[in-house]
Symmetry: C2
């Protein structure tokens, strides 16, 4: 397997990101090329067609290459369902429990998800983020010891408590999906704007800080009333809504009973990470930002390294 090529794929709800990599002698991955395709929720159940049309050019150029996938692809609404490893769990454990199968002569492996049991019979689940946590653990040696809170903003924001290299528990917030629904399909926004207006974003965050207990569904109507009363332009409304939602997510996270937060590691796309960092700062919490793509590839490297090592041991 040494020096062979491998395709690693982060296939989430909204996006598919495929990376062609060279597997180096020690099992680490070096990025060669990248391609994008549709997320699980967007490709209308045509999973096999979507992945093959995405990786086809690489198969044509380089012949058969094995594919490792992580994310919603393994969920009950994905391509092939894989189970969940229960917390507490060291993220590298996922490499031992992949679901492997062959399609059109290509070897596929789907990484399992991770689950945890919160208070009063509330479970939570993640798929894909465990890989980024795995990457985060290997980016600095000190991450292997001590207690950390990691925020992974996205369609479903995950807040992950890591202690001594293990995921102890985590919480999902629907922040990104709520933003998409409310920004594109509600009475609140007539014309969604993609231009970010920082002042309006901060106004939204600050409003949630001052708002009363559990008043999300009450407070969010201010997106419309502020436009009616000339306090927000149509162009500013999306940024204000984003501030309300991210502010509310961050407030809930720092008030959660499961951890004490003084600093948060944020793993996400640059703009979204900035937004979470600003909302945390407004609540007096510091943060460090990490590049999500870099950590995803590092996570896949760790899985590749581990399976490379275990295959070597098998010999």
């Amino acid at each position: 397997m040494a020096m062979s090529k491998v395709i690693v794929v982060d296939w989430g709800t909204s996006h598919l990101r495929a990376y062609l990599c060279q597997s180096l002698a020690n099992g680490e991955l070096a990025l060669l090329d990248k391609r994008l395709a549709l997320g699980i929720a967007k490709c209308d159940g045509r999973f096999e067609e979507e992945i093959f049309s995405c990786i086809e050019p690489w198969l044509v150029s380089f012949g058969n290459i094995r594919v490792v996938l992580a994310g919603q692809v393994g969920s009950s609404i994905g391509w092939k369902e894989t189970h969940y490893l229960p917390c507490p769990v060291a993220p590298v454990e996922v490499s031992k429990a992949c679901l492997s199968f062959k399609k059109r002569g290509v070897d596929f492996s789907i990484v399992p998800g991770v689950s945890c049991n919160l208070d009063d019979d509330i479970h939570d689940v993640m798929r894909g983020e465990e890989l980024q946590v795995l990457g985060w653990l290997s980016v600095k040696p000190e991450h292997q010891k001590g207690e950390y809170l990691i925020c992974l903003p996205g369609t479903h924001t995950k807040w992950v408590l890591v202690v001594d290299g293990e995921i102890i528990l985590f919480k999902t917030a629907m922040t990104g999906e709520l933003f998409d629904l409310l920004n594109n399909q509600s009475v609140l926004i007539q014309e969604p704007s993609t231009a970010f207006d920082e002042e309006s974003f901060i106004k939204g965050v600050k409003y949630t800080l001052k708002s009363e207990l559990g008043s999300f569904s009450h407070g969010v109507f201010s997106v419309r009333s502020k436009q009616l009363f000339g306090q927000l332009t149509q162009q500013q409304a999306s940024s204000y809504l984003s501030g309300l939602l991210i502010g509310s997510d961050v407030r809930a996270a720092i008030n959660a009973s499961q951890w004490n937060v003084s600093n948060v590691s944020i793993i996400g796309a640059p703009h979204l990470s900035d937004c979470f960092s600003k909302a945390l700062a407004l609540q007096g919490v510091g943060s460090e930002k990490y590049d999500v793509e870099q950590l995803t590839l590092l996570g896949f490297s760790m899985i590749n390294k581990f399976s490379y090592l275990s295959q070597t041991e098998d010999l």
Copy 2:
């Protein structure tokens, strides 16, 4: 005008409800017939076509009839924009400030909305609900004196504080619209179910009571995780989601700083009113239910009576 016919229309975001009435000698309205059509958000801007196709059969049978409209029809996304009367205001005042115009030879009047100014520059607005509050005020003489909290559940739930016959202030919650978006278009529900499951609804309400500060966007993911872990069937998931949303709305309302609640008057459709009544009861608050259609017609009666009286005085 005495003994003439009048058409009154409650034209909201989701539904248009038109009533053909007989205006009695004292100005009160007696219901003759009812027709339904599409709400403001659903008729693609073709407002004139929608209202005329709805009332056409009555015009054909009885000749020209004047039409009085209330609700989102007068909003910035409606047919003709009317202004807002600022709180505190006696709801009967709206009858003095109608927008009147003629289309295809028919006289139309649109009732204005009501606005209020909450803390820190947050305004709120209502259109249509002021009519039901007007009906509620006239249904029992004691409603004219004292302090009352009225809940009007719907696409946008309104919580209205009435003191000595005047609307003092009110708050909007996006509960119904959030339910529609999350039930029909989110990852939480695969197949929306219209069968109500009371146990799951109560489970949802109770979860919000126990949940932490501002954790709506965190808690709502339990709709999905409970299905994944066999704690909810697909059929029960919609009822549980409804419980989460209504529970969260009710919790925010009874914790609002603007009023002290011991009893709530609920004006809404029977099933929705039951849901709010149950959620209030779980938080130790009693409620009385009123039929929304009856109060709407009573409200229009009051407006008709008032304009009948003022016309008589003009003679």
